[in-house]
């Protein structure tokens, strides 16, 4: 019964985006919604890492920008069709994240955060200094073919088309995260998060599952990055700077990572709060900061936790 309700909820969520796009006039709002959806998927990846591994990464923005850079650098060489290139960039990013994960998940807490920060900033430095390949601070413009995945590229570069596409991808990502949490692997990684030593003494290896979660969270972030690149046809080092990772973390904390959909909510709230506050003051970050402190102190499980608590009140 509960599962059927969840599937109904996913179907309803999937339908909300296209329906909203139908009623909202094309323009700034839809463009913001499309970008907010990228941010939400980004936050979903970071929240997934917090939820399953209990670790906080300060370098995940690297996985947001890496596939975009790979596509931008390899596209002019015409080695393979764009769709294959997209898939290869995602696979490559996940493989790299898994390899990094095998090293960094051995440590916890601040050490883990600092390692991810160092790796992320290392890639940022590479992106800014390796001008011949990355375009340095100027970034890279992608010259996309007319069609991608059987759709006109123009459609995906318009707010309406991209918002609908990103919304559907976001819903699929949420379903994947939800299914993972209910799988034996999800239970195992939660058990490792809570009591790794006991899990080892129950007979499990703990390194591979933790590295796999790190890689899966990187995949979600990479998908968000790929959508962003497809929409903007542009990638720059700003996308992989540690402040972008910090924004993703704020989104996940605002929304709360105790439930799968919490970071999505945090992503949308952060994005629209940022734009609303930015319209009034250049110090919009201080408003986000106050909101973050309020949520962290008053609602440790984030806005999603607050909503669940309100709903379960008699």
């Amino acid at each position: 019964m509960k599962n059927s309700l969840s599937w109904l909820g996913f179907a309803a969520l999937g339908a909300v985006g296209p329906l909203a796009a139908h009623f909202i006039p094309a323009g700034m709002t839809l463009s913001l919604l499309a970008q907010a959806t990228f941010a939400a998927i980004f936050a979903l990846g970071i929240g997934f890492l917090i939820r399953q591994n209990g670790t906080i990464s300060f370098g995940h923005a690297a996985f947001f920008g890496l596939p975009g850079y790979a596509v931008a650098a390899l596209l002019p060489l015409k080695l393979m069709p764009l769709e294959v290139l997209f898939a290869a960039a995602l696979v490559g990013t996940v493989a790299l994240a898994f390899a990094i994960g095998l090293v960094v998940v051995r440590v916890h807490g601040i050490a883990f955060g600092m390692l991810t920060l160092a790796i992320g900033q290392g890639l940022y430095e590479a992106a800014t200094r390796w001008r011949a390949v990355t375009g340095g601070h100027d970034g890279m413009t992608l010259r996309l073919p007319r069609e991608v995945f059987g759709l006109p590229v123009k459609l995906l570069q318009q707010p309406h088309g991209m918002f609908v596409a990103a919304w559907i991808v976001m819903t699929l990502c949420l379903v994947a995260v939800w299914l993972f949490a209910r799988s034996p692997w999800g239970r195992l990684t939660e058990a490792i998060r809570d009591n790794e030593e006991r899990v080892r003494f129950l007979g499990y290896r703990t390194l591979l599952p933790r590295a796999a979660v790190f890689a899966a969270s990187a995949l979600l972030v990479a998908i968000a990055g790929m959508l962003s690149v497809l929409y903007n046809a542009f990638i720059s080092p700003d996308a992989i700077h540690w402040t972008a990772s910090g924004s993703g973390l704020i989104m996940a904390i605002l929304g709360g990572s105790a439930v799968a959909w919490g970071p999505l909510l945090g992503g949308f709230v952060y994005f629209f709060l940022k734009h609303a506050a930015g319209a009034y003051t250049t110090h919009w970050l201080s408003i986000i900061g106050v909101a973050l402190i309020l949520v962290a102190v008053a609602f440790p499980n984030g806005l999603a936790g607050l909503m669940i608590r309100q709903r379960s009140r008699p």
Binding site: A191, D194, F201, L202, G203
Partner: protein, 232 residues
């Protein structure tokens, strides 16, 4: 048949020697108690046997050298342990963690253990929400899931009431007899120790002070002086 043997176990922390050339040989189906004052090296020995801490010496399980195996591999070979502090998964249901433990070893659902430890009524509750005595029982059930043949227990009666300790002792005796499980138990509660142990090893300052049947240990003046005192 020897189920568990340790030879020349030595463990040092900086300049402090926690265990010095300790050897132990436990028969299959035997309940062996490790007793001694605080700092004697009892828990360190359990850690060495289970692979928690690297140490010098050799550990054999059913005749096979397991000295260099990880805790997980030792577990899959049938050597299981519990911890001094309750080591469960408070945010998981009792059923989910028993299933998790069973899947690691034999792929079963572990429901027989739920019944054996009388945990079925609590199966769908979060482990963090059940009583302390029930959590200790769950801790033990996690160690017993997957039918291990050798069990290392580090103070399983810690924090239990007199009645709960008595029930635990009877339960351990029953499991060992029924399943033929070899048990090595560290325990400060002498009522539990003398109620269940076939053999007792007394440790003091990282060395074996005495070893023998409970009556012999109770009568050993060195042991009485060093540890048992009036408890004997």
């Amino acid at each position: 048949m020897i189920a568990l043997a340790a030879t020349g176990i030595t463990k040092t922390y900086g300049g402090f020697t926690a265990l010095s050339d300790v050897s132990l040989s436990v028969e299959h189906g035997e309940i062996r108690a490790l007793i001694g004052p605080n700092g004697a090296g009892k828990s360190t020995l359990i850690d060495a046997l289970s692979g928690r801490n690297p140490c010098l010496g050799r550990v054999e399980l059913m005749g096979a050298d397991i000295s260099r195996l990880t805790p997980g591999k030792r577990r899959r070979l049938g050597l299981s342990r519990s911890f001094q502090k309750t080591s469960i998964f408070p945010r998981m249901t009792v059923r989910a963690q028993i299933e998790l433990a069973a899947r690691a070893v034999d792929g079963s659902d572990g429901m027989d253990v739920l019944d054996e430890f009388d945990l079925r009524p609590l199966a769908d509750r979060l482990a963090g929400d059940i009583g302390y005595g029930d959590q200790r029982r769950l801790d033990l059930a996690l160690a017993m899931t997957g039918q291990p043949h050798t069990l290392l227990l580090d103070e399983p009666a810690a924090g239990l009431s007199f009645e709960e300790s008595k029930r635990l002792a009877a339960h351990l005796r029953d499991i060992a007899a029924r399943r033929g499980v070899t048990v090595v138990i560290v325990e400060h509660d002498m009522d539990v120790v003398f109620a269940i142990a076939d053999t007792i090893t007394v440790l003091q300052l990282g060395q074996v002070l005495a070893e023998g049947r409970p009556d012999d240990i109770r009568a050993n003046p060195d042991v009485v002086r060093a540890y048992l005192g009036s408890a004997a």
